[in-house]
Symmetry: C2
Subunit: 373 residues, 2 copies
């Protein structure tokens, strides 16, 4: 029944290095599924002194969703504005507050909102269990200890933050994700009803985050069949949602799934030029991620010609006017900073252009694109 | 920051009941990724006395794959024939053997093979941690205790067993899955290289398992947007593989992903008429699941007309001749038994036909289909 042991060891074949990807281990999908959250987190309550912390987009303060949050004992609901991109210092402040407020570690963190709230929740769950400050973990696989149990409840679709192994934060020196196996949520609740209240422009810009990262992923050099299959499905759903004529409910449901599959498509891929340049724009101007992607992407016909053509159709069909001349007042130094932040995202450029990207992309080229925005 | 506690409790909204679906929490995809198995299971080794048990399709005995199995210490490799469908008594025998051979519980179970080996591995991992016999757990959510750590390594694509929360077994009274949250693998290794050696007919029949359950899932009454998105992608990939002209490697990769997405599409759906009737055929004649599905499905134009037409194209394109007249020698009692097994699969019929399925489906109707096979 067995091989000779020596032989087996000797013959062991060359190692490959494909990522052992962490998937969200539990997901509930369905209209009204948010009402199951109480039952879902109950077994995770360590004791009545170890609270659940709900980080919630302040858009929902005083709205019906607030009443549905299943808090008990000394749980805490913290409303947070999503007007700005999440910051490492914001994570550090929340962590400090929780350490001050409670003697025990919380039982878990629940993030309710869009990408900003989901990313903050992932980062807080990590930093409650790891020493130091959030910016020290920006990068790849720097987190040492498992995060607290954390749950993601998206209320807007497109970022893929509900399923990804990163949490993108603006730090003192860079805008960069905490990419780690511990970042991924332990539980996700996908309830399309929660997206009923999204304002139209935000719906469009966040949906375009998904569309654009599908285009980047599918046109990237990192792509394999796993990521391709998710990316193709997410792209097909985006086309149905933004170019088709779906009923409102079907559109919400399909965009929620597009976001999910779009996030999964990054497992063995990466985003590309639009995301890299959008990071620069966010860093200097504080432009939100979704709209920042759109502002950049419209000028990327040299990199993604078919994708940009589709994007123009979507803008037209959905009657969206992008802001213009937002870089008009910027100084030369500002443009240099934006280009430098964008160029620091090395894996994104390598995915987009190939290993020799540094020979093909220049600071001047990026600045000339930024100047069109 | 908080609602009044009483108010929050009182206002809690009506409960829904969407399944909180367990996803495989870790997956590695890529050619050659099987060589990473040693590193993946190393941290799961409890001590040198607690072995890993490798359940392997005996097709690989003496072949190259056997040499790549990363066994150490007192690990055991057990080769098992996949000529017959997995049985509850087979699970019980393996469990008894492992209890006799080792004082300690194994560190984990690794299944390497097609649906038969994957299902056996899931069942053995469950039964090593739960009292009694495997047939006592056939049904829905009867398993009480978490399974041993278990890893699935598919070497043929189509069943979706690598990602599903069931393990389908023939028992003393029925062919039925152990459906539970503990059934799902803790880790899956998707290495398309492992499917290089699959014989053509087996490749086709197992691939059709995926194609047919997509048709059943997408045409079912249980479908929601989550399952639909996975089912549509799996179906699209099946069309590429069986009706397109892909290169061998691309075809292997796409079929592996079709199986994965097809299995996921069952999360909030169910299979239907073909699977229900195929279970009856397997139970009485021991017909393997993949070919059994094909034998039934070809005659289901009243239920799945478009799907059956596509299936006929695939048979032709791939030059497959299905066996004929395999029910020729059966007695009236045999036909009754097959129909009765098929009709006992209530959720499958409810999914396929609707809540009033009992008024629409008769034993005679099923027997008349079986007689054509």
């Amino acid at each position: 029944m067995k091989l000779d042991k020596e032989e087996s060891t000797v013959k062991r074949i060359h190692k490959t290095d494909h990522r052992n990807f962490p998937m969200v281990p539990r997901v509930v999908y369905g209209r009204g599924s948010f009402s199951q959250l109480a039952d879902i987190i109950l077994p995770m309550r360590k004791n009545s002194e170890a609270p659940f912390i709900f980080l919630v987009d302040d858009f929902f303060e005083g709205k019906q969703l607030e009443e549905q949050i299943p808090w008990l004992f000394n749980d805490q609901i913290i409303f947070i504005s999503a007007d700005e991109e999440p910051k490492t210092e914001q994570v550090d402040a929340i962590v400090q507050k929780l350490k001050d407020d409670f003697e025990e570690l919380p039982s878990g963190i629940v993030g309710i909102g869009g990408g900003t709230l989901l990313d903050l929740s992932k980062a807080v769950a990590i930093m409650m269990a790891n020493k130091g400050l959030a910016h020290q973990y920006q990068g790849w696989d720097l987190v040492q200890r498992p995060a607290l149990y954390h749950v993601g409840v998206p209320t807007i679709s497109g970022t893929g933050a509900e399923v990804s192994r990163t949490t993108v934060l603006s730090g003192p020196e860079k805008k960069l994700g905490i990419n780690s196996d511990f970042t991924t949520f332990d539980q996700v609740v996908l309830d399309p009803d929660l997206t009923n209240t999204v304002p139209k422009e935000q719906w469009f810009y966040t949906g375009m985050d998904c569309f654009i990262h599908c285009i980047e992923s599918l046109n990237g050099t990192y792509l394999n069949a796993f990521s391709q299959s998710y990316g193709e499905k997410a792209l097909a759903l985006c086309k149905e949602v933004f170019l088709g004529d779906l009923a409102a409910q079907e559109s919400q449901e399909k965009l929620m799934m597009a976001s999910w599959h779009g996030g999964m498509s990054i497992a063995y891929s990466q985003v590309g030029v639009a995301h890299a340049m959008s990071y620069g724009l966010s860093y200097v101007l504080g432009v939100k991620h979704g709209i920042g992607n759109c502002l950049v992407f419209q000028h990327l016909e040299d990199f993604y010609s078919d994708g940009v053509a589709l994007f123009q159709q979507m803008l037209e069909k959905q009657e969206i006017d992008l802001p213009k001349e937002i870089c008009k007042e910027l100084s030369g130094h500002d443009f240099e900073t934006m280009a430098s932040i964008a160029l620091s995202m090395e894996p994104l450029w390598e995915n987009a252009i190939g290993k020799d990207w540094k020979e093909k992309i220049s600071t001047e080229q990026l600045i000339s694109i930024y100047k069109k925005i």
